[in-house]
């Protein structure tokens, strides 16, 4: 705790500091003796494996966990944050990992952006609506939000909700801004806007605590990196950062992925598992032609709104194709609803787990077996013992950090919740499994674990992984297909995956879109 030496941080006065923070949940020791200083104008990144304790530390600093060990100091004086409001009043704004905790879904964008003001006891009973609206518009503009302020938030895509949650945090003009995995649901473009915003805040002397599993982006924007491992501060890294150093400090050496070798086994080109012929997803959309071969993991990428999820929804029977043909192992199928798709062996892990996948009332076991209750049905009664057994296997295979099959979902870290809802669809044999943004909030080690499990269990079936982040796909896919505006505009086989070329494709994709946008 000696004086600050970094030159790039001009103001040496430390505003916030935590000392020897510890926290236990029952027998789980989530945090142990963590001390961190936050310097004005510095972006401090925090990395660590799923369940390392990052969110727990954040929840202590922002007053969510009322009970903790250790001290929080503001301007050198100890303070007790027993409510989120106390933290707020000290200038700490937090955007949590679960987006819906950061916005009120049933309210409009405008109401969300001005909520802090509306709840302010100083507000006169008949306040000026117009003034608040102007303010909301300003807040929205700083984030580059181009949405109708009267749209209810629950009708917005996840990425825009995230931007609103961030805008809300900024609206209180924080001195310490905490962001827990803000980019896990943002497109590149939105991420860039966020980074520019963070830069401006740094100029203003705001301290930023930033959590992410996207190590590349951390290498770019962080001033300092702390690594949390098993609840302890494992390492502090200074610029320049090597992704490899971060990984090693987080999870140790990752074994040279054995499953990558498998990729070269050569998938038989003639053996098609799924084929789309001129499938038109929606009115006016271009026809899609796509083959997925037996044993193949196909990566599908493209911007948010490129039509990846829409394609998946047609395959899973959520929506119907306007025209065209879907063939599964040569047979024409047309799933009219989800249960028909499931019967045809098409499984779908949706994006946005909090909204679409997690059943908060249920424990891990009940969440995991939900799609396949029939399998555990013995003359109408659920066979809980075989559920537990199966669930244990998946917990092991996926490396889910938890107390056991009966642990509640809200006792899991974000990444581990994600692993549960992915595992749910790998419980049974599939013909085609579609994973939509399966790595949201999942650490690098677990991404490898999931990829490896998929590869060893795929046999002669097929998988499609949808991801906006190219690097995630390069790790696991046999082939990468790029989509834009509902059309497939390029693909590369694993043997000749060329990251730069793919990025070029994405860049070109952007150009097309921008040209079209400016043409309108």
């Amino acid at each position: 705790m000696t004086a600050v030496k970094e030159q790039d941080v001009s103001d040496a006065k430390i505003l916030f500091e935590v000392r020897d923070i510890g926290k236990s949940f029952g027998v789980t020791r989530a945090l142990d003796g963590v001390s961190v200083e936050f310097k004005p104008g510095e972006l401090l990144a925090m990395v660590g494996a799923n369940g390392a304790g990052k969110s727990t530390l954040i929840k202590i600093i922002c007053g969510y966990h009322a009970e903790y060990e250790g001290q929080i100091l503001v301007e050198g004086k100890e303070v007790q944050f027993h409510t989120p409001k106390a933290a707020y009043d000290n200038g700490i704004a937090t955007v949590h990992q679960i987006i819906n905790e950061g916005v009120v879904p049933s309210m409009t964008v405008y109401e969300n952006l001005t909520l802090a003001k509306l709840l302010n006891p100083g507000l006169p009973l008949f306040y000026k609506k117009e003034a608040l609206r102007i303010e909301a518009r300003e807040v929205a503009a700083t984030m580059g939000l181009e949405i109708d302020l009267d749209t209810p938030v629950d009708q917005l895509p996840q990425s825009e909700r995230q931007m609103i949650a961030i805008a809300r945090a900024l609206a209180i003009k924080p001195r310490l801004l905490i962001l827990d995995e803000p980019t896990s649901s943002l497109s590149d473009k939105e991420s860039e806007r966020l980074f520019a915003m963070l830069d401006r805040l740094k100029q203003l002397g705001v301290s930023i605590l930033y959590v992410s599993h996207r190590l590349h982006e951390i290498g770019r924007i962080a001033d300092r990196v702390i690594v949390i491992r098993d609840g302890k501060l494992a390492k502090t890294l200074q610029r320049p950062f090597q992704v490899k150093d971060m990984v090693t400090a987080m999870v140790g050496e990752i074994p040279k992925h054995s499953f990558l070798a498998d990729r070269e086994r050569g998938i038989d080109d003639t053996n098609t598992q799924v084929e789309l012929r001129d499938v038109v997803v929606a009115e006016g959309a271009p026809p899609v032609n796509l083959k997925v071969r037996k044993g193949e993991i196909l990566g599908l990428t493209g911007l948010i709104g490129a039509g990846k999820t829409e394609l998946a929804q047609v395959l899973f029977g959520i929506t119907q194709a306007m025209s065209g043909e879907i063939r599964m192992a040569g047979k024409v199928i047309h799933p009219r609803n989800m249960s028909e798709a499931i019967r045809a062996g098409i499984f779908y892990v949706p994006e946005d787990r909090a909204e679409n996948a997690v059943v908060p009332l249920f424990n891990i076991r009940q969440n995991m077996t939900l799609p396949f209750l029939r399998v555990f049905d013995r003359l109408g009664i659920m066979d809980v013992n075989s559920e537990i057994k199966r669930c244990r296997e998946m917990i092991g295979a996926m490396g889910i950090k938890c107390e056991g099959p009966e642990a509640e979902m809200d006792s899991l870290s974000g990444g581990n919740q994600q692993k549960v809802v992915v595992a749910r669809w790998l419980l049974e044999k599939y013909n085609l499994v579609i994973l939509d943004e399966p790595f949201q909030g999942v650490d690098i080690r677990s991404r490898h674990d999931i990829g490896e499990y998929l590869r060893t269990s795929i046999g002669d079936k097929s998988a499609i992984i949808i991801a906006t982040d190219l690097d995630e796909l390069i790790e696991v896919a046999d082939r990468i297909v790029v989509m834009n505006n509902g059309a497939i505009i390029g693909e590369q086989e694993y043997e000749d995956i060329d990251r730069d070329k793919l990025l070029q494709l994405v860049a070109q994709e952007k150009e097309i879109q921008e040209r079209e946008e400016s043409a309108v």
């Binding site: 236990s24 009332l361 799609p371 009664i381």
Partner: protein
């Protein structure tokens, strides 16, 4: 952290880690058994005040008092589980009282026919509720509130607004030919093996059925999943609308059964039999949230809740409390029970 009676040891984190689970365990214990402890205390208190309270005959009458709205409460558990509510159960039960009287007394048909007609009507009303909520997308509270008024009106039509008892004089001056059949009355007034009141047995059987469906079968799992995150349930292929529909049909049918038991108990078609059924039933189900601290609708808790309300009323009237005090106490208990469970578990982090 300051209440440490343990001497300061350098390895502070160790004994803290040991102490924490203890306070946690206490809290968990309080959440789980707090309500049952309060109930047991009241039970002892009432008996101490007036030992007649403990007589088996009185205990049976407490159970008996809980049966009708207890059955209704078990039925409304299904809408509650899927995060809905059914406000029409009270009037469905009242309709069932009038219709069974009408079928047996006026039409002179058998008790079996009366039971079947009532159950079918209950299911039908439930289906209409479900249709309005699922297809027409009227919010559950509004749809079932509308249905409640509607059924309240319909209930009076067959008899032209009059109660129907044996030998009742009908609209045209004709004397009603039929009467309540004995085996029908047995459902409300009889005793199995001369000990257990039939109505209590019916309630227990319904409770066991509801428990089995909700807690042991896969259908129950889906019901709960829909209540917790219906979008997630839909995306694992559950037929969400069918389940929601079923919830209201079950609630309507079971409410009709409650009405049958009530008709059998009073032995006549009383126009004012709806009474406080709805509120007592929903109160029981909500108190059920607090029993064992499960924080969700569950049949065991519902039964305990129903018995609790009945015990409270019985005990208070033994203490000669006026009826409005009883209502007041009922309200206080309901709010306190819910505040206790939800309040305690909210601060669990």
């Amino acid at each position: 952290m300051s209440s440490s009676t343990v001497p300061e040891v350098p390895t502070g984190s160790v004994d803290q880690a040991r102490r924490r689970p203890n306070s946690e365990r206490f809290k968990r214990f309080a959440i789980r058994y707090g309500f049952l402890i309060v109930m047991a205390t009241l039970f002892l208190f009432f008996g101490w005040w007036n030992p007649v309270f403990w007589r088996p005959a009185n205990l049976f009458s407490i159970l008996l008092g809980a049966t009708v709205y207890g059955i209704l409460a078990l039925g409304v558990t299904f809408p509650l589980v899927i995060d809905g509510l059914d406000l029409s159960i009270g009037s469905v039960a009242a309709l069932s009282v009038m219709i069974s009287a009408y079928v047996m007394v006026v039409l002179d048909a058998s008790g079996t026919v009366a039971i079947l007609v009532c159950l079918m009507l209950g299911a039908g009303i439930g289906a209409i509720n479900g249709f309005l909520i699922v297809r027409v997308k009227i919010p559950d509270l509004l749809a079932t509130l509308g249905m409640m008024f509607l059924v309240q009106g319909v209930q009076l039509i067959p008899s032209g607004g009059r109660s129907i008892g044996r030998g009742a004089v009908l609209a045209g001056g004709v004397v009603a030919p039929g009467r309540f059949r004995d085996y029908f009355l047995f459902l409300g007034q009889g005793r199995l093996f001369g000990i257990v009141p039939t109505a209590v047995a019916i309630m227990l059987i319904v409770a066991i059925l509801v428990f089995v469906i909700l807690s042991l079968t896969r259908w129950g799992r889906v019901f709960y999943a829909i209540g917790s995150n219906s979008q997630a349930a839909r995306l694992v292929g559950a037929k969400v609308n069918t389940y929601r529909m079923m919830a209201y049909i079950l609630s309507g049918t079971i409410a009709a059964l409650g009405g049958i038991v009530l008709a059998a108990r009073v032995g006549r078609g009383d126009v004012s039999s709806g009474g406080t059924l709805l509120l007592d039933a929903i109160g029981s189900a909500l108190i059920g949230f607090a029993v064992l601290g499960v924080r969700r609708p569950n049949p065991f808790g519902t039964i305990v809740g129903a018995i609790f309300i009945s015990m409270l009323l019985n005990g208070l009237s033994m203490m000669n409390m006026p009826y409005y005090v009883q209502d007041f106490v009922k309200g206080v208990v309901l709010v306190a029970a819910l505040a206790f469970t939800f309040g305690l578990s909210k601060t669990k982090g």
